[in-house]
Symmetry: C2
């Protein structure tokens, strides 16, 4: 299902084939939390060049429920998206969003933050839910360790995640997931030896690809980059590597440089709703009065609908007036920008010029990848 077409240092350009098409990597996946990438339609996503989106098992399990989605023909048909879908396992959201979590060997009991109802998710049920949703790439339920955590907690958590991974794999094999790829998730907190153990034991179970979980949860950037490099270097070369929940444009490039093929983050859509736009010249905050009379497009080098049709002054006016169109146009632009960044990275890898591309990007974008605060990387609720 995965083919590496070119490499440049640790960076790889590849093709990921799924039941719903081909995805060129490295790739950024817009997040469709509740069966929609916020403020965007499938037409917008296609126009931005998206070929893969992420769906959140946790959110869809709670509402409208996986049985309803199965009954209506699966998530692709439900959300009108005929491209590839990756679903996460719900582990991260149970950890970050749910109330009154009770973690047991069998699974995790939690309360919905919206209506207080009690739910139980086990590794087997998480797979069953994802079989019902029908995503092309699915994941085992994992425990997402808090940061910082004690060594003892990290060991206990990793052991549980590994036992759950084995159960998830068994459930997937038993179930009707023939056309669905199952990725393993590498946890292990910030301990290098635990990360090594996580890679060894996860790879030993055998998955179609590997996600790196438990990063971008508050640790310093150096730690995140270092562990990404370590884990990516240990994972099987021939399979896709997915860095979960990352990140900013600079994080994406640093991840690609370390051998990551896939990323997802709510950043482009959530920041759009706060009026922050990503451009090749760095972020633009539309609230600032300096844009009020600016007739230029958001990013003169961008070919998205928002940049082709409208001025900064107009987009700012929409945003300041709470016009819903602002959220669509700014989200469309930001997603387009993230996808463009990955397209450019892919092209640079193919011609063996990823490092100069990355250096030029940082020179113009004017953000050092190590000095940006991480406070905007919390998950979308």
């Amino acid at each position: 299902m995965f083919e590496i077409l070119a490499t440049d240092g640790a960076a790889r350009a590849g093709r990921l084939a799924t039941a719903h098409g081909v995805v060129e990597t490295p790739v950024f996946m817009p997040v469709g939390t509740r069966g929609a990438v916020k403020a965007l339609g499938p037409d917008d996503l296609r126009a931005a060049g998206a070929r893969i989106v992420l769906g959140n098992t946790y959110h869809l399990f709670l509402r409208p429920g996986h049985e309803l989605i199965r009954e209506l023909g699966g998530l692709h048909r439900f959300m009108g998206w005929d491209g590839t879908i990756l679903t996460d396992s719900g582990g991260f959201q149970v950890w970050s969003l749910a109330k009154l979590r009770k973690l047991r060997e069998e699974g995790v009991e939690f309360r919905s933050p919206t209506d207080g109802s009690t739910h139980f998710l086990s590794p087997e049920l998480a797979i069953e839910v994802q079989h019902a949703l029908g995503g092309d790439i699915i994941h085992p339920l994992d425990e997402c360790l808090a940061y910082p955590a004690t060594r003892e907690a990290a060991e206990r958590s990793l052991a549980l995640t590994l036992r759950w991974a084995a159960r998830a794999k068994a459930a997937h094999v038993r179930g009707a997931g023939g056309r669905q790829a199952l990725f393993g998730i590498v946890q292990g907190g910030t301990w290098e030896d635990l990360r090594r153990r996580a890679v060894d034991e996860t790879v030993a179970l055998g998955f179609d690809g590997y996600a790196i979980g438990g990063l971008a949860v508050g640790e310093p950037k150096e730690t995140m980059y270092g562990l990404t490099e370590l884990v990516a270097g240990l994972l099987p070369r021939a399979q896709p590597r997915y860095l979960m929940g990352v990140g900013k444009p600079e994080d994406l490039l640093e991840g690609v440089a370390r051998g990551i093929d896939m990323f997802d983050c709510v950043l482009p859509t959530r920041n759009a709703r706060n009026g922050q736009c990503f451009t090749w010249d760095g972020p633009v905050t539309l609230k600032q009065a300096r844009w009020a009379r600016d007739g230029a497009p958001l990013d003169p080098d961008c070919h998205c609908y928002a940049c082709r049709g409208f001025s900064r002054a107009y987009l700012r006016h929409l945003f300041m007036s709470d016009e819903l169109l602002a959220y669509r146009l700014l989200s469309l632009h930001n997603v387009h920008f993230f996808l463009d960044l990955m397209r450019e990275a892919r092209a640079a890898i193919t011609r063996g010029a990823f490092e100069p591309f990355k250096a030029r990007f940082f020179a113009r974008y004017a953000v050092s990848s190590l000095d940006v605060s991480r406070d905007e990387l919390r998950p979308e609720v």
Copy 2:
């Protein structure tokens, strides 16, 4: 600028040519209050078949200001809409939205409801603002009488509106509005003789078309229909007639039957944001649990993007989850429906079958035009 192509009883099918294209009538104009039809982009409006949209002078005057829009090339360019734009004069919004209005012969002083700032609008300034915006069809400042009103208040108000209309006409002739058409507004409250006087004196001033104002403000439906019929029957046959702020699908057909060519209302977009969708089988309220597992499109006879791509169950899920995409898709559908209704009415007039078309519409839509409450016709703020 206006050509009648076919008539059927009092109903007319025509073509309205402006500096930004040809509009086929009868036509419904989506309302772009603040330089955007709420939740929709120009691409959505085009896809729905819109060729003319309305802009609110009052809102754009307050924010971002007409000078800014002039500086950036006018409202068409500002909002990325290359079709026809009609702007109202601001009179209705001053009356319905502004605080602490002080009405004088010279004009009206009011406070912005958003920031409390004081503003003054005169007939001359309202024209200057609309010249700056550059809409294809503009309107004189009028006083919109409250309902109910005393005979004395109605007479005084009409006289002021007529004096303002003369000043607006003079300002338009003096100004640079050569490519802009100026419509007159017929007021006069609920008194037939005042409405007759309003028609006589407004027509005597000479305008490019005539709007009927001061209806759909709380009076009974019979009164609205009766006064529409009276005024439409008195207006010059060769010029377009625009019934301001109307209305529901049934009101549009009743207006067309009485000789109205143009309508505008926030109903399709505002009700969309409340989860109410218009269909040929009557309104659908998506909040209702009955739609939760319904795999059918919103309206099987509609060809809009929302109906082609998604089920009622999905649209309901988006709406119940407060997903922004819900507002776009439902607004798109409702606007498409209103425009379709007018397209079908036009076709029926052309083949001399408007009355049977209207009867079939009501039989299926199952709403009597006289028994619908009017509480949803308030203006968008």
